[in-house]
Subunit: 352 residues, 4 copies
């Protein structure tokens, strides 16, 4: 396929951390050409002014957000806007034939009342939303292939759901016993000048936040309920870790059959993810480090059954900005376009 056959891609909200990952990945994607970078406060700037290290590869300027421009120029648009904005522009983009991948929470929920309850935003795009597909390829590969609107998962949900899916799908744990203790690097807070994200504050320290009320809770519960075929309520506690990127999700569940041992569960996980090139199930006794996943679209899983307590503990490690955000969106794009699922996506981190 020659250069002229590349598809034209736009990124709205290109200046944030999600945006720069998309730019970074798409620059090297063989089937894609970035034809539009849109921003609000950054409109008019050279992209290389925001990220000087990319200047040699990104001659493009950031433009203001104009739907007609986007629709006329782009086959596919990634939306990296704050929650509550994509739902205003996705319907008209889709109406013009654009495929849309939204990185916000707007198209992650099948039940918009649930969305409104947690995100405090009324919605009017009911029809559009009903056609959106939750962009976790390991669970919804087929639907994603046939969709033109993807609600890309949050970073915590991605790490947590990949850890939980085999257990819930096979009915191996009590769905009401789930506790997710998640840990994220500070880039999850975005490229904003918040005091608590300053190196001086966040370095050499550690704390929980949003206990019992983080917005990723209903998102995780929705997919877990779908997997378990019954309503799931679970505990989700995020923590801020003194490192730029990476998420580790430590997931606890009570085994329905306490006789299951670690090797049994590893067999289940290996089978479940046999066709998922980005999920790596580690061998017995090996637990992942987040750094293994950094700069890649991989999710590393490790697990242990505890015969003393009858629980299973699963640990999953991802790069919150790649598999947890931009990389997974590109993985969805690959599926939507009928390309190989891992096209243009990194699978080798630099270590240490």
């Amino acid at each position: 396929m020659g250069n002229s056959e590349k598809i034209s891609v736009g990124i709205v909200g290109a200046s944030g951390y999600g945006g720069v990952q998309l730019v970074r990945i798409l620059i090297e994607h063989p089937q894609v050409e970035i034809v539009y970078l849109g921003g609000d406060s950054s409109a008019g700037k050279e992209y290389g002014d925001l990220y000087p290290h990319l200047r040699h590869r990104t001659p493009t300027k950031i433009e203001s957000i104009n739907l007609e421009t986007i629709a006329s120029r782009c086959d596919v648009v990634f939306l990296g806007l704050p929650n509550g904005l994509a739902c205003n522009i996705a319907p008209s983009l889709i109406a013009t034939g654009c495929k849309v991948l939204d990185l916000s929470a707007d198209y992650r929920f099948q039940d918009l009342d649930l969305y409104t309850k947690w995100y405090k935003t009324e919605r009017e795009d009911l029809e559009t939303s009903a056609n959106a597909v939750y962009g976790l390829p390991e669970l919804y590969r087929k639907k994603i292939k046939n969709s033109n609107l993807i609600g890309c998962p949050g970073c915590y949900p991605t790490a947590s759901l990949l850890a939980l899916a085999p257990l819930l799908k096979q009915g191996l744990i009590d769905p009401n016993s789930i506790i997710i203790d998640a840990k994220s690097g500070t880039s999850g807070g975005g490229r904003q000048g918040k005091i608590n994200l300053l190196l001086a504050e966040a370095d050499s320290s550690l704390g929980a936040y949003g206990i019992a009320k983080h917005r990723h809770t209903p998102e995780i519960e929705q997919i877990c309920s779908d997997l378990a075929r019954s309503e799931v309520k679970l505990q989700f506690t995020p923590h801020l870790i003194p490192m730029p990127r990476g998420i580790l999700s430590t997931v606890y569940g009570t085994l329905t059959d306490p006789g299951l041992v670690t090797d049994d569960l590893l067999t289940v996980y290996n089978a479940f993810y046999r066709n998922s090139a980005f999920v790596k199930v580690m061998g017995r006794g090996i637990y992942p480090q987040t750094k293994w996943a950094c700069g890649t679209n991989l999710a590393y899983l490790g697990l242990e059954a505890d015969p003393r307590t009858g629980r299973v503990i699963v640990v999953s490690a991802i790069d919150n900005l790649i598999k947890g955000q931009a990389g997974q969106a590109v993985q969805c794009l690959n599926l939507m376009m009928g390309w190989q699922e891992d096209l243009g996506l990194p699978t080798l981190s630099f270590y240490p």
Copy 2:
């Protein structure tokens, strides 16, 4: 009280991280004089060769470990040796009238079979061990006052038990529902040249270890069982965090009365710790950062009841080397000597 009335203190195992905290704290303790620093591989060195920043305050040399020397010179001895060594020397030190505070696991267990099962060491000092007191002053203040042998708690148990004690003591949670997801800075691994503790490996990364088999599990269970007046089995998962010091313990339990709200529990906690100067229960919605506790003997607690799940989540933050080790040992010493409990112990961290 004049200088001559200070008690004479020795530290065996002075070169490690626990040792240097003890040295640091005791230098400024008004009632104590360090008369002996003992070490094995470091014997013969100036203390200031190991820790040049302390050279101006520690003229003392490290001596080889000789029980007669220690007994003849010291009123009190802190033992900071690897597990399985203190039990060989504590009995004879006590026999000569020394008070002993052991920082290893050797004197933490009432049931020595349990110790042997997890630490793979047979024990013969049954009588000595039977007289040892678990050195967590917030729970065992009276016993510590009357003891001459303290088994100082591990760092994870300290953080975890302070978070759990009010709940278990008052029967507010199902004792078999407890999950402890703990996070520690890398100094917990000691001053040893381990590859996984190198900055190049551990920085910007995060992982779990010892899942379902960490040795602090039975120690925590023992005290929880004592508090709950029934045998407790719990889940304990430690994680390594890219920071030098600090522990955050995130503790989950299912409320026996799901109608309890956060304010109820804060009332319980404030009452429970009313006379414990080192435990700070934070107000509603405030969760501690480990850095708040660094360089102090404080434990900060925050909590939240979750009406959706019927669980309580408690977060506790300590400095693993102070309240989690050396500071707590000095707190015990203060009690044993009849001094004010907080004498010579820091309660103000530097921030940021």
Copy 3:
């Protein structure tokens, strides 16, 4: 001396990093009582809302900045405001009999034209400024004792001047050969939400800034000129280091007598700082780590003469917020009040 004899101290600009160090140190200072905390945007808040870890020791509210209130209540005032504001309020405070210690650049310059050139602010308080003393006790101890207005040094100048003073005072280096390559933790940038100070941006990275134009250059040059008794122009390059606090200043100078060896210079330094309790000159071959100084008012110096190049290299390490700011201000206060110079000032860091 009883409580009633303590002096009354106010802090204007108490919410920033300099302010919280002052609060932290003065809480434990035996001769001082904090009677006023002033702020602008933080006025009306409890201090413990800004810094929850200090809530148990700081019942005080932050008040708005009112000169009459301050003057009526305080014997001594620390000013921790942005550059260009202290010069508006110090004159009237002094007129009412307050002693003033200013942490900004306003009273560091004898030549106000130089100040105006680098700080772009015209000055009218010529008389007040003429009476100000540069608050580096190791160089200007006597003047500080007799002053009621101190211009406290910048963090970089403190580290750099302590490294240079013995060389310049004794004429041991060519004053025009001086190069200062300085490295600072990010707290030096203040408690402001700047993108480049986010952990996500600054961690695991390193860069220079303000090359050939940082405002600390003329401040260092002024004192160096005073020491050398001739005009000095030097090179100063600051760098941002991925750590919260600490400054390392690596200073280069060409020896006027290339025959001087390291031991000669160590002798000079030890003599020069013999009566300066906070300056620690390390032995041959020992170079300081910034962490040694963290949480203390100490400055650690190490040095090396290089016979190959005829240069001397001096390395100095301080805590930028203590010896580089708040601690040094308290050291000046001690001198102004006729107290022991090290009263209430920490000299032992926690390590690691």
Copy 4:
């Protein structure tokens, strides 16, 4: 070109940080197949046991170091051994027709007496050494193309020489005025369990080491002398920075023509590096961050002329393990094989 036409490559010393970078890069290099991984203490292990995150891409075992095996199997060998070992095996490998790229110091010196003086090792491979080429492609591209033995530069020399070369080549600075203040992440110390490289020790801290005696000094001087066509003696001071990877070299020189301004020098640098795809000269007022270069083979340069002092300050940022080691070696391989110079080498970092 089909798979069968790939060249066969071996890596001796594959278990260290240099080794794992080579493995990482060569896995994705389109013209290379890794056919041998050799190690000493790691011989017999699966590579994925050492680096579990690479298990899915490295089925190869580490073998013991056997010259006949290597020679029979490999077209090209990378040697990543401690200094003083490559000189024992390179001659026989070359005799069998292997191309050798040595990552140690053994083949970096034209004057072996200089090597012996600094590395305390006598040499007998005079003829082999005489044919070695210093593997800095930006300076010695032609020689590298025609060589079969490359002495790959040290990490500090790479960063420093790229900063200095245009100045020395054009005679723009006084060669005896050069001061290099260099800063490195801790991976530069290798994958060894050294106390000073522990996260607990090195994090949140900063210090200089090897002042006036670091072994990279004569290596830098040798190439500088070549560029300046006169003997150069310079000052080199390395520092350890609390981050895993990256080097920043801050270089000072006195301009021979003090009338030169920053723009003049930027013009010189842009011309000098016009054909060097991996060197990025930043625009006026932009100074590089090491993180920009991490995970890439790029060197970012920024500079400033200081009219006040008559000096030029150049800052260069590289990834110490890529452009400073393994990536540069692959760049040399590309030249030696007549391939495109940037084949298989990453030029886009992930940020933040």
